[in-house]
């Protein structure tokens, strides 16, 4: 075989949700970029649930958008139903979720990629990493494909998803493929191991897809989208996306369903011991739910359309790896699914991924210069988690090529920071899913202010236009001015005001008060108080009004969290060198120096989050740092 060579700036391996964001970011930043996929038809494929967003994941999509990513814009084009989850709860946990038309989602992303300058799409299996070990540190130089072709580049992003040595299991039927019967990548794992990269094995699963015409919807509850649709992208005009929505349906498992599952547990590859990989706790298969929560006599099943132009429906809540005959039997016990026809079986999938502690928070491998990783390959799960890592890896790959310092999103900046820090710092024994409870500064990291938090960085990096950035500055100015105006506007105990308060069952005034104080009252708020606020400007957008209200209502907690963030940043700013050998520091406990040596944290802050490193160990590290600093001065 005659092998030929081509040279690019950045190579991205995989064109799933991580790979797409990485490739787009790198190309948009001016790098000649090539993205490999086992099938061009599977670009940005959604092999599992047909939604984008959801609790905390909606936050991630907003943040990716705020940085200049594509996921938000793409789902705004492809959604067929949209809902703001937790709308009745506090603003920190509002989360947008959309049902996607999977075909449209893939098509639109492919269209965007194909029309992006500097971006080349290439079908083919990457089977080898080319690494040079001439220098002090190993450095990635390119990849080799199954056809023997060599591609050279200064930076490579691995975003192989669930394809590495993948196998799909349905009962005792094992197929050595990636999701949806797509070709698995069987060579790259060995090459990675040869380069000293540690791989682990995870599993995940998906429910069956069934034929809409075989479902009796009269036995299910209809689930509608929101009346007013909120876009994912800060750039999408809300008016442009108000459109007809498709319904989802809700039904429940029955005791009979659970009996069938229990009777056939021995035929499950998970309980039968065939599956080696660790599965996610947050997304249990139906057999897991039945075993782990025996007291529950029913489980919800959401029946969701896979698209507008297909009859396939997704049975959310009933993922499984039980044999086909058991799948039929159990699905048939669910009201509305008595005669359901399966189009695609439910299955579990096992795959190779890495222990992400091998990565820096920039998503570059600690041991190999120029090699980046993103998405499920890093042990995460979910389209949104993948996209969030993808954009960071793509930006940093480009910056590597351009000799610019890597960007680093810390925990105080957003969910992306929490996600990456958790992955590279903490022990992770299952596919990692984002959750709002993982963010310690949740009230600051809302989906509604992702632009304030991350668009400045996106602009600095070069993914956000000047125009968009200036729009943001204007928005912030408007919000600030309005808050100030409300704080300075004095409301006396006039008859009109008292009558207004009485109408809204709010305590009457004894003396004058600022309008801001009234907005703060739970029973009132910004919109309601317009009645007694003649000077209110009518130029504020919906988004700006929302910010004004949130800032005033939750001021106390917001201040508290901002204070915590300040403290957090002080510890993040105390940097630890990679060259420290922690075994040589006296007074560190054994567990602490072992973990510190394994992870090599970049800062005291990161060190403090490693399990097994105690506050006393941190005290010791602080003293050590000062000691080193002074020795250098001498």
């Amino acid at each position: 075989m005659i092998s030929i060579e081509q040279t690019y700036d950045v190579i991205v391996v995989g064109a799933g949700h991580a790979g797409c964001e990485a490739a787009l970011a790198a190309a948009r930043l001016g790098c000649e970029t090539i993205v490999f996929t086992v099938s061009v038809d599977s670009i940005a494929m959604m092999p599992c649930n047909p939604n984008i967003g959801g609790t905390s994941k909606g936050h991630l999509v907003r943040e990716v958008d705020a940085l200049g990513g594509e996921m938000g814009k793409n789902i705004d084009k492809a959604f067929i139903q949209s809902k703001m989850l937790n709308a009745s709860k506090g603003p920190a946990v509002h989360s947008l979720r959309a049902q996607a038309d999977k075909q449209v989602y893939t098509r639109e992303m492919r269209k965007t990629m194909e029309n992006t300058d500097h971006l080349t799409i290439r079908q083919g299996e990457v089977c080898e990493l080319i690494v040079s070990r001439d220098g002090e540190k190993a450095k990635v130089c390119g990849v080799k494909t199954a056809s023997g072709m060599v591609y050279r580049a200064q930076a490579v992003v691995l975003a192989t998803g669930v394809y590495l040595n993948a196998r799909c299991l349905t009962g005792d039927v094992i197929q050595y493929t990636g999701p949806n019967g797509l070709q698995a990548a069987t060579h790259l794992s060995d090459s990675l191991r040869n380069e000293g990269i540690e791989l682990v094995r995870f599993k995940t699963g998906t429910p069956a897809r069934v034929d809409k015409r075989s479902i009796d919807f009269s036995k299910m509850e209809e689930q509608f989208g929101d009346e007013r649709i909120v876009p994912f992208s800060f750039e999408t005009d809300p008016e442009s996306i108000q459109r007809e929505q498709v319904s989802c349906w809700l039904t429940y498992t029955e005791e009979k369903t659970h009996e069938i599952i229990r009777a056939n547990l021995d035929r499950s590859p998970l309980y039968g011991g065939i599956i080696e990989g660790t599965g996610p706790r947050y997304c249990p298969s139906i057999e897991d739910k039945v075993v782990r929560y025996p007291e529950k006599d029913r489980h919800q099943v959401f029946v969701e359309p896979e698209g507008e132009y297909t009859n396939e429906m997704y049975l959310s809540g009933m993922s499984s790896s039980l044999p086909e005959d058991v799948q039929y039997a159990m699905y048939h016990t669910v009201p509305g699914l008595e005669n359901v026809k399966i189009v695609r079986n439910a299955y579990a999938i096992e795959y190779d991924c890495i222990n992400p502690q091998q990565l820096e928070a920039t998503l570059e491998f600690k041991s190999i210069d120029g090699l980046f990783a993103a998405g499920q390959f890093n042990g995460s799960s979910g389209y949104e988690e993948a996209a969030a890592q993808g954009i960071v890896a793509g930006i940093n790959a480009a910056r590597k090529v351009q000799n610019k310092p890597a960007i680093f999103i810390d925990r105080s900046m957003g969910y992306i920071g929490v996600l990456i820090d958790d992955l590279v710092t903490k022990e992770n024994h299952e596919p990692y899913r984002m959750m709002t409870s993982r963010s310690e500064y949740r009230l600051i990291q809302r989906q509604d202010n992702a632009d304030e938090r991350l668009t400045p960085l996106g602009h600095e990096v070069g993914l956000i236009s000047d125009e968009r950035y200036e729009k943001l500055l204007k928005k912030e100015e408007h919000i600030e001015q309005e808050i100030e105006r409300l704080q300075k506007t004095h409301v006396g105990c006039s008859e009109e005001v008292q009558a207004f308060l009485e109408k809204h069952e709010s305590t009457l005034l004894k003396s004058g008060i600022s309008l801001a104080e009234l907005v703060r009252r739970p029973e009132l708020g910004y919109e309601v108080t317009e009645e007694i606020d003649p000077a209110r400007p009518d130029t504020l957008t919906e988004a700006e009004k929302e910010q004004v209200e949130i800032h005033l209502k939750y001021e106390g907690y917001i201040k508290r969290q901002l204070q915590q963030i300040q403290n957090f940043r002080k510890l993040e700013a105390k940097k630890l060198s990679k060259d420290i050998d922690y075994t040589t520091i006296p007074s560190l406990r054994k567990e602490a120096y072992q973990k510190l040596n394994a992870i090599k944290p970049v800062s005291i802050g990161q060190a403090s989050r490693i399990s097994g490193v105690s506050p006393a160990d941190i005290s010791v590290l602080l003293v050590y740092l000062e000691q080193m600093g002074r020795k250098r001065m001498q």
Binding site: N49, T55, S56, L85, N86, K89, G90, P91, A92, V93, P207, R281, Y282, C283, P284, K289, R292, Y293, K296, H299, Q300, F302, S316, G317, K426, M435, T436, S437, R438, R442, L443, P522, E523, Y554, Y557, Q561, N567, K570, L571, I585, P586, S587, R589, I604, S608, S611, S614, P615, A616, I618, S619, V620, L622, V623, Y624, E626, Q627, R630, K631, Q634
Partner: protein, 461 residues
């Protein structure tokens, strides 16, 4: 979790070795403000905040208009202090109990308890101590921490920590339910949760209030001189203990049952607190023939400030006696030669020569020698040969501070729910309370919530 490095800290800066003077040091940006809140200078003087550096002020520590102690307060402005931060040192005169009250007051007025070795650490980090001392600073942090940890384990066995533990697991459960519902609103509903949580929360607040008041009464604070009674079975250990308790019995609280095999009692001799530990008090009555577990005795002896070793003078020394002597060789101990009233097999002088410790002749039957023993203990204390476990003292202050913080977080929970604030805010305060209570019993919080969510509630698709 790591605490802020730059807030204001306070601790007792002198060893708690006598009933005389003790110094409370406050260091950090708020030091003067905190001191001004508790200190009233004699005459109409300007606040300490405006006082020149290195000046001494005479006045009183006052709580709600009530004088707690007569004190001298020294003001040292940054950088001219040990830590190089703004520092106030309060010289108290009223003995250990008063010292505790003053510290308590300082902590409730904006300072937090210093971590073990924290003043010294700050002094070093701020360039006050030279490089050569850096390693000893690290050693200090390490050893003080180990001591504090052991201390907290020693004091917090039994019912008290059991209560904290169950409180924590209840809070965690409700918080996990709440978080699970926030993360998976389509599967887990919050309907009616708010009312239920208020009921629970009120219960928790009541429990915490009662625990805090127990701290106030000193029933949980047991930072007296930890005194362990050692000796073979049936040499008169329990009799000695009973005699020492004597008329005190009425006013002390028995914390038996904290562990199955040690009996602890608290008594004071002229303001000097003593925590008496009878190592095998209960076991002996249960099983007379059982020998002392040497290992357990050793553990107790290691944590002790003072050992009272009881020898039966009417019998010859036995193998176990030699083991005990070896154990106490390097420790503060008094040997009590019991059964003075019977035929003695040895003279105090002989025994003194053997163990190289002061030997007190004693009769458990008649009580002869008891006063001499008390005087001897007191003498050791006042001469500074015997010190109280000040890390334990600080540990207690920290624990109480955490209980107070947890209570105030839970109160916020209730107020917010009543005000109709959204549930996710409540979770912030529940988490704070959970973490504070974790500090009390030295348990870490890493991933607890996530594990509880997955462990208890059926999430997701």
């Amino acid at each position: 979790m790591i605490r802020n490095q730059e807030d204001t800290i306070a601790a007792v800066a002198t060893p708690l070795s006598s009933a005389g003077i003790g110094i409370i040091r406050i260091s950090g940006p708020e030091a003067f403000t905190v001191a001004d809140r508790v200190f009233q200078e004699a005459g109409q003087k300007a606040p300490l905040l405006e006082a020149p550096t290195h000046t001494i002020h005479y006045g009183h520590i006052v709580e709600d208009g009530r004088i707690i102690d007569e004190v001298l307060v020294m003001v040292m402005r940054a950088p001219r202090s040990y830590t190089t931060e703004d520092t106030v040192e309060i010289n108290c005169h009223g003995g250990v109990l008063v010292l505790r009250k003053v510290l308590d007051l300082v902590l409730r007025n904006g300072a937090r308890t210093a971590e073990p070795g924290e003043f010294t650490r700050r002094a070093f980090l701020n360039g006050r101590i030279d490089l050569a001392q850096a390693e000893s600073v690290m050693d200090l942090i390490e050893s003080k921490n180990e001591y504090a940890m052991r201390g907290s384990i020693n004091t917090l066995k039994g019912k008290f920590s059991e209560k904290i533990r169950s409180l924590r697991s209840e809070i965690l459960y409700q918080n996990a339910y709440l978080e699970a519902a926030l993360d998976d609103p389509e599967h887990i509903s919050l309907d009616g949760f708010s009312e239920k949580l208020i009921t629970e929360d009120e219960k928790w607040i009541t429990t915490l209030s009662s625990l805090i008041s127990q701290f106030h009464n000193g029933r949980i604070l047991r930072e007296g001189i930890r005194t362990v009674i050692l000796g073979r079975p049936n040499v008169g250990k329990s009799s000695l203990m009973n005699l020492l308790m004597g008329e005190e019995r009425a006013i002390v609280t028995n914390v038996a049952g904290t562990t199955r095999d040690t009996l602890e009692e608290y008594l004071t001799i002229n303001e000097m607190g003593l925590t008496l530990v009878d190592t095998a008090g209960i076991r002996e009555t249960e099983d007379v023939v059982e020998k002392i577990g040497v290992e357990r005795a050793r553990q107790n002896a290691e944590a002790a400030d003072l050992i009272l070793y009881v020898v039966d003078g009417s019998e010859n020394l036995q193998e176990e006696d030699y083991e005990i002597m070896e154990l106490i060789r390097t420790r503060k101990a008094i040997v009590i030669l019991n059964k003075n009233d019977l035929d003695m097999q040895m003279l105090p002088r002989e025994l003194e020569f053997l163990v190289q410790k002061k030997v007190s002749p004693f009769s458990a039957k008649s009580g002869e020698g008891l006063n001499e023993l008390k005087t001897e203990i007191q003498k050791m204390f006042y001469e500074g040969r015997l010190t109280m476990n000040d890390e334990l003292f600080m540990e207690n202050a920290r624990q109480k501070e955490s209980l107070e913080k947890a209570k105030s977080s839970l109160t916020m929970v209730k107020n917010n729910l009543l005000d109709g604030m959204p549930e996710d805010l409540v979770s912030i305060d529940l988490t704070d309370a959970y973490e504070e209570l974790g500090k009390v019993i030295g348990e870490s919080v890493d991933e607890d919530l996530i594990n509880e969510i997955f462990g208890r509630f059926c999430m997701g698709k």
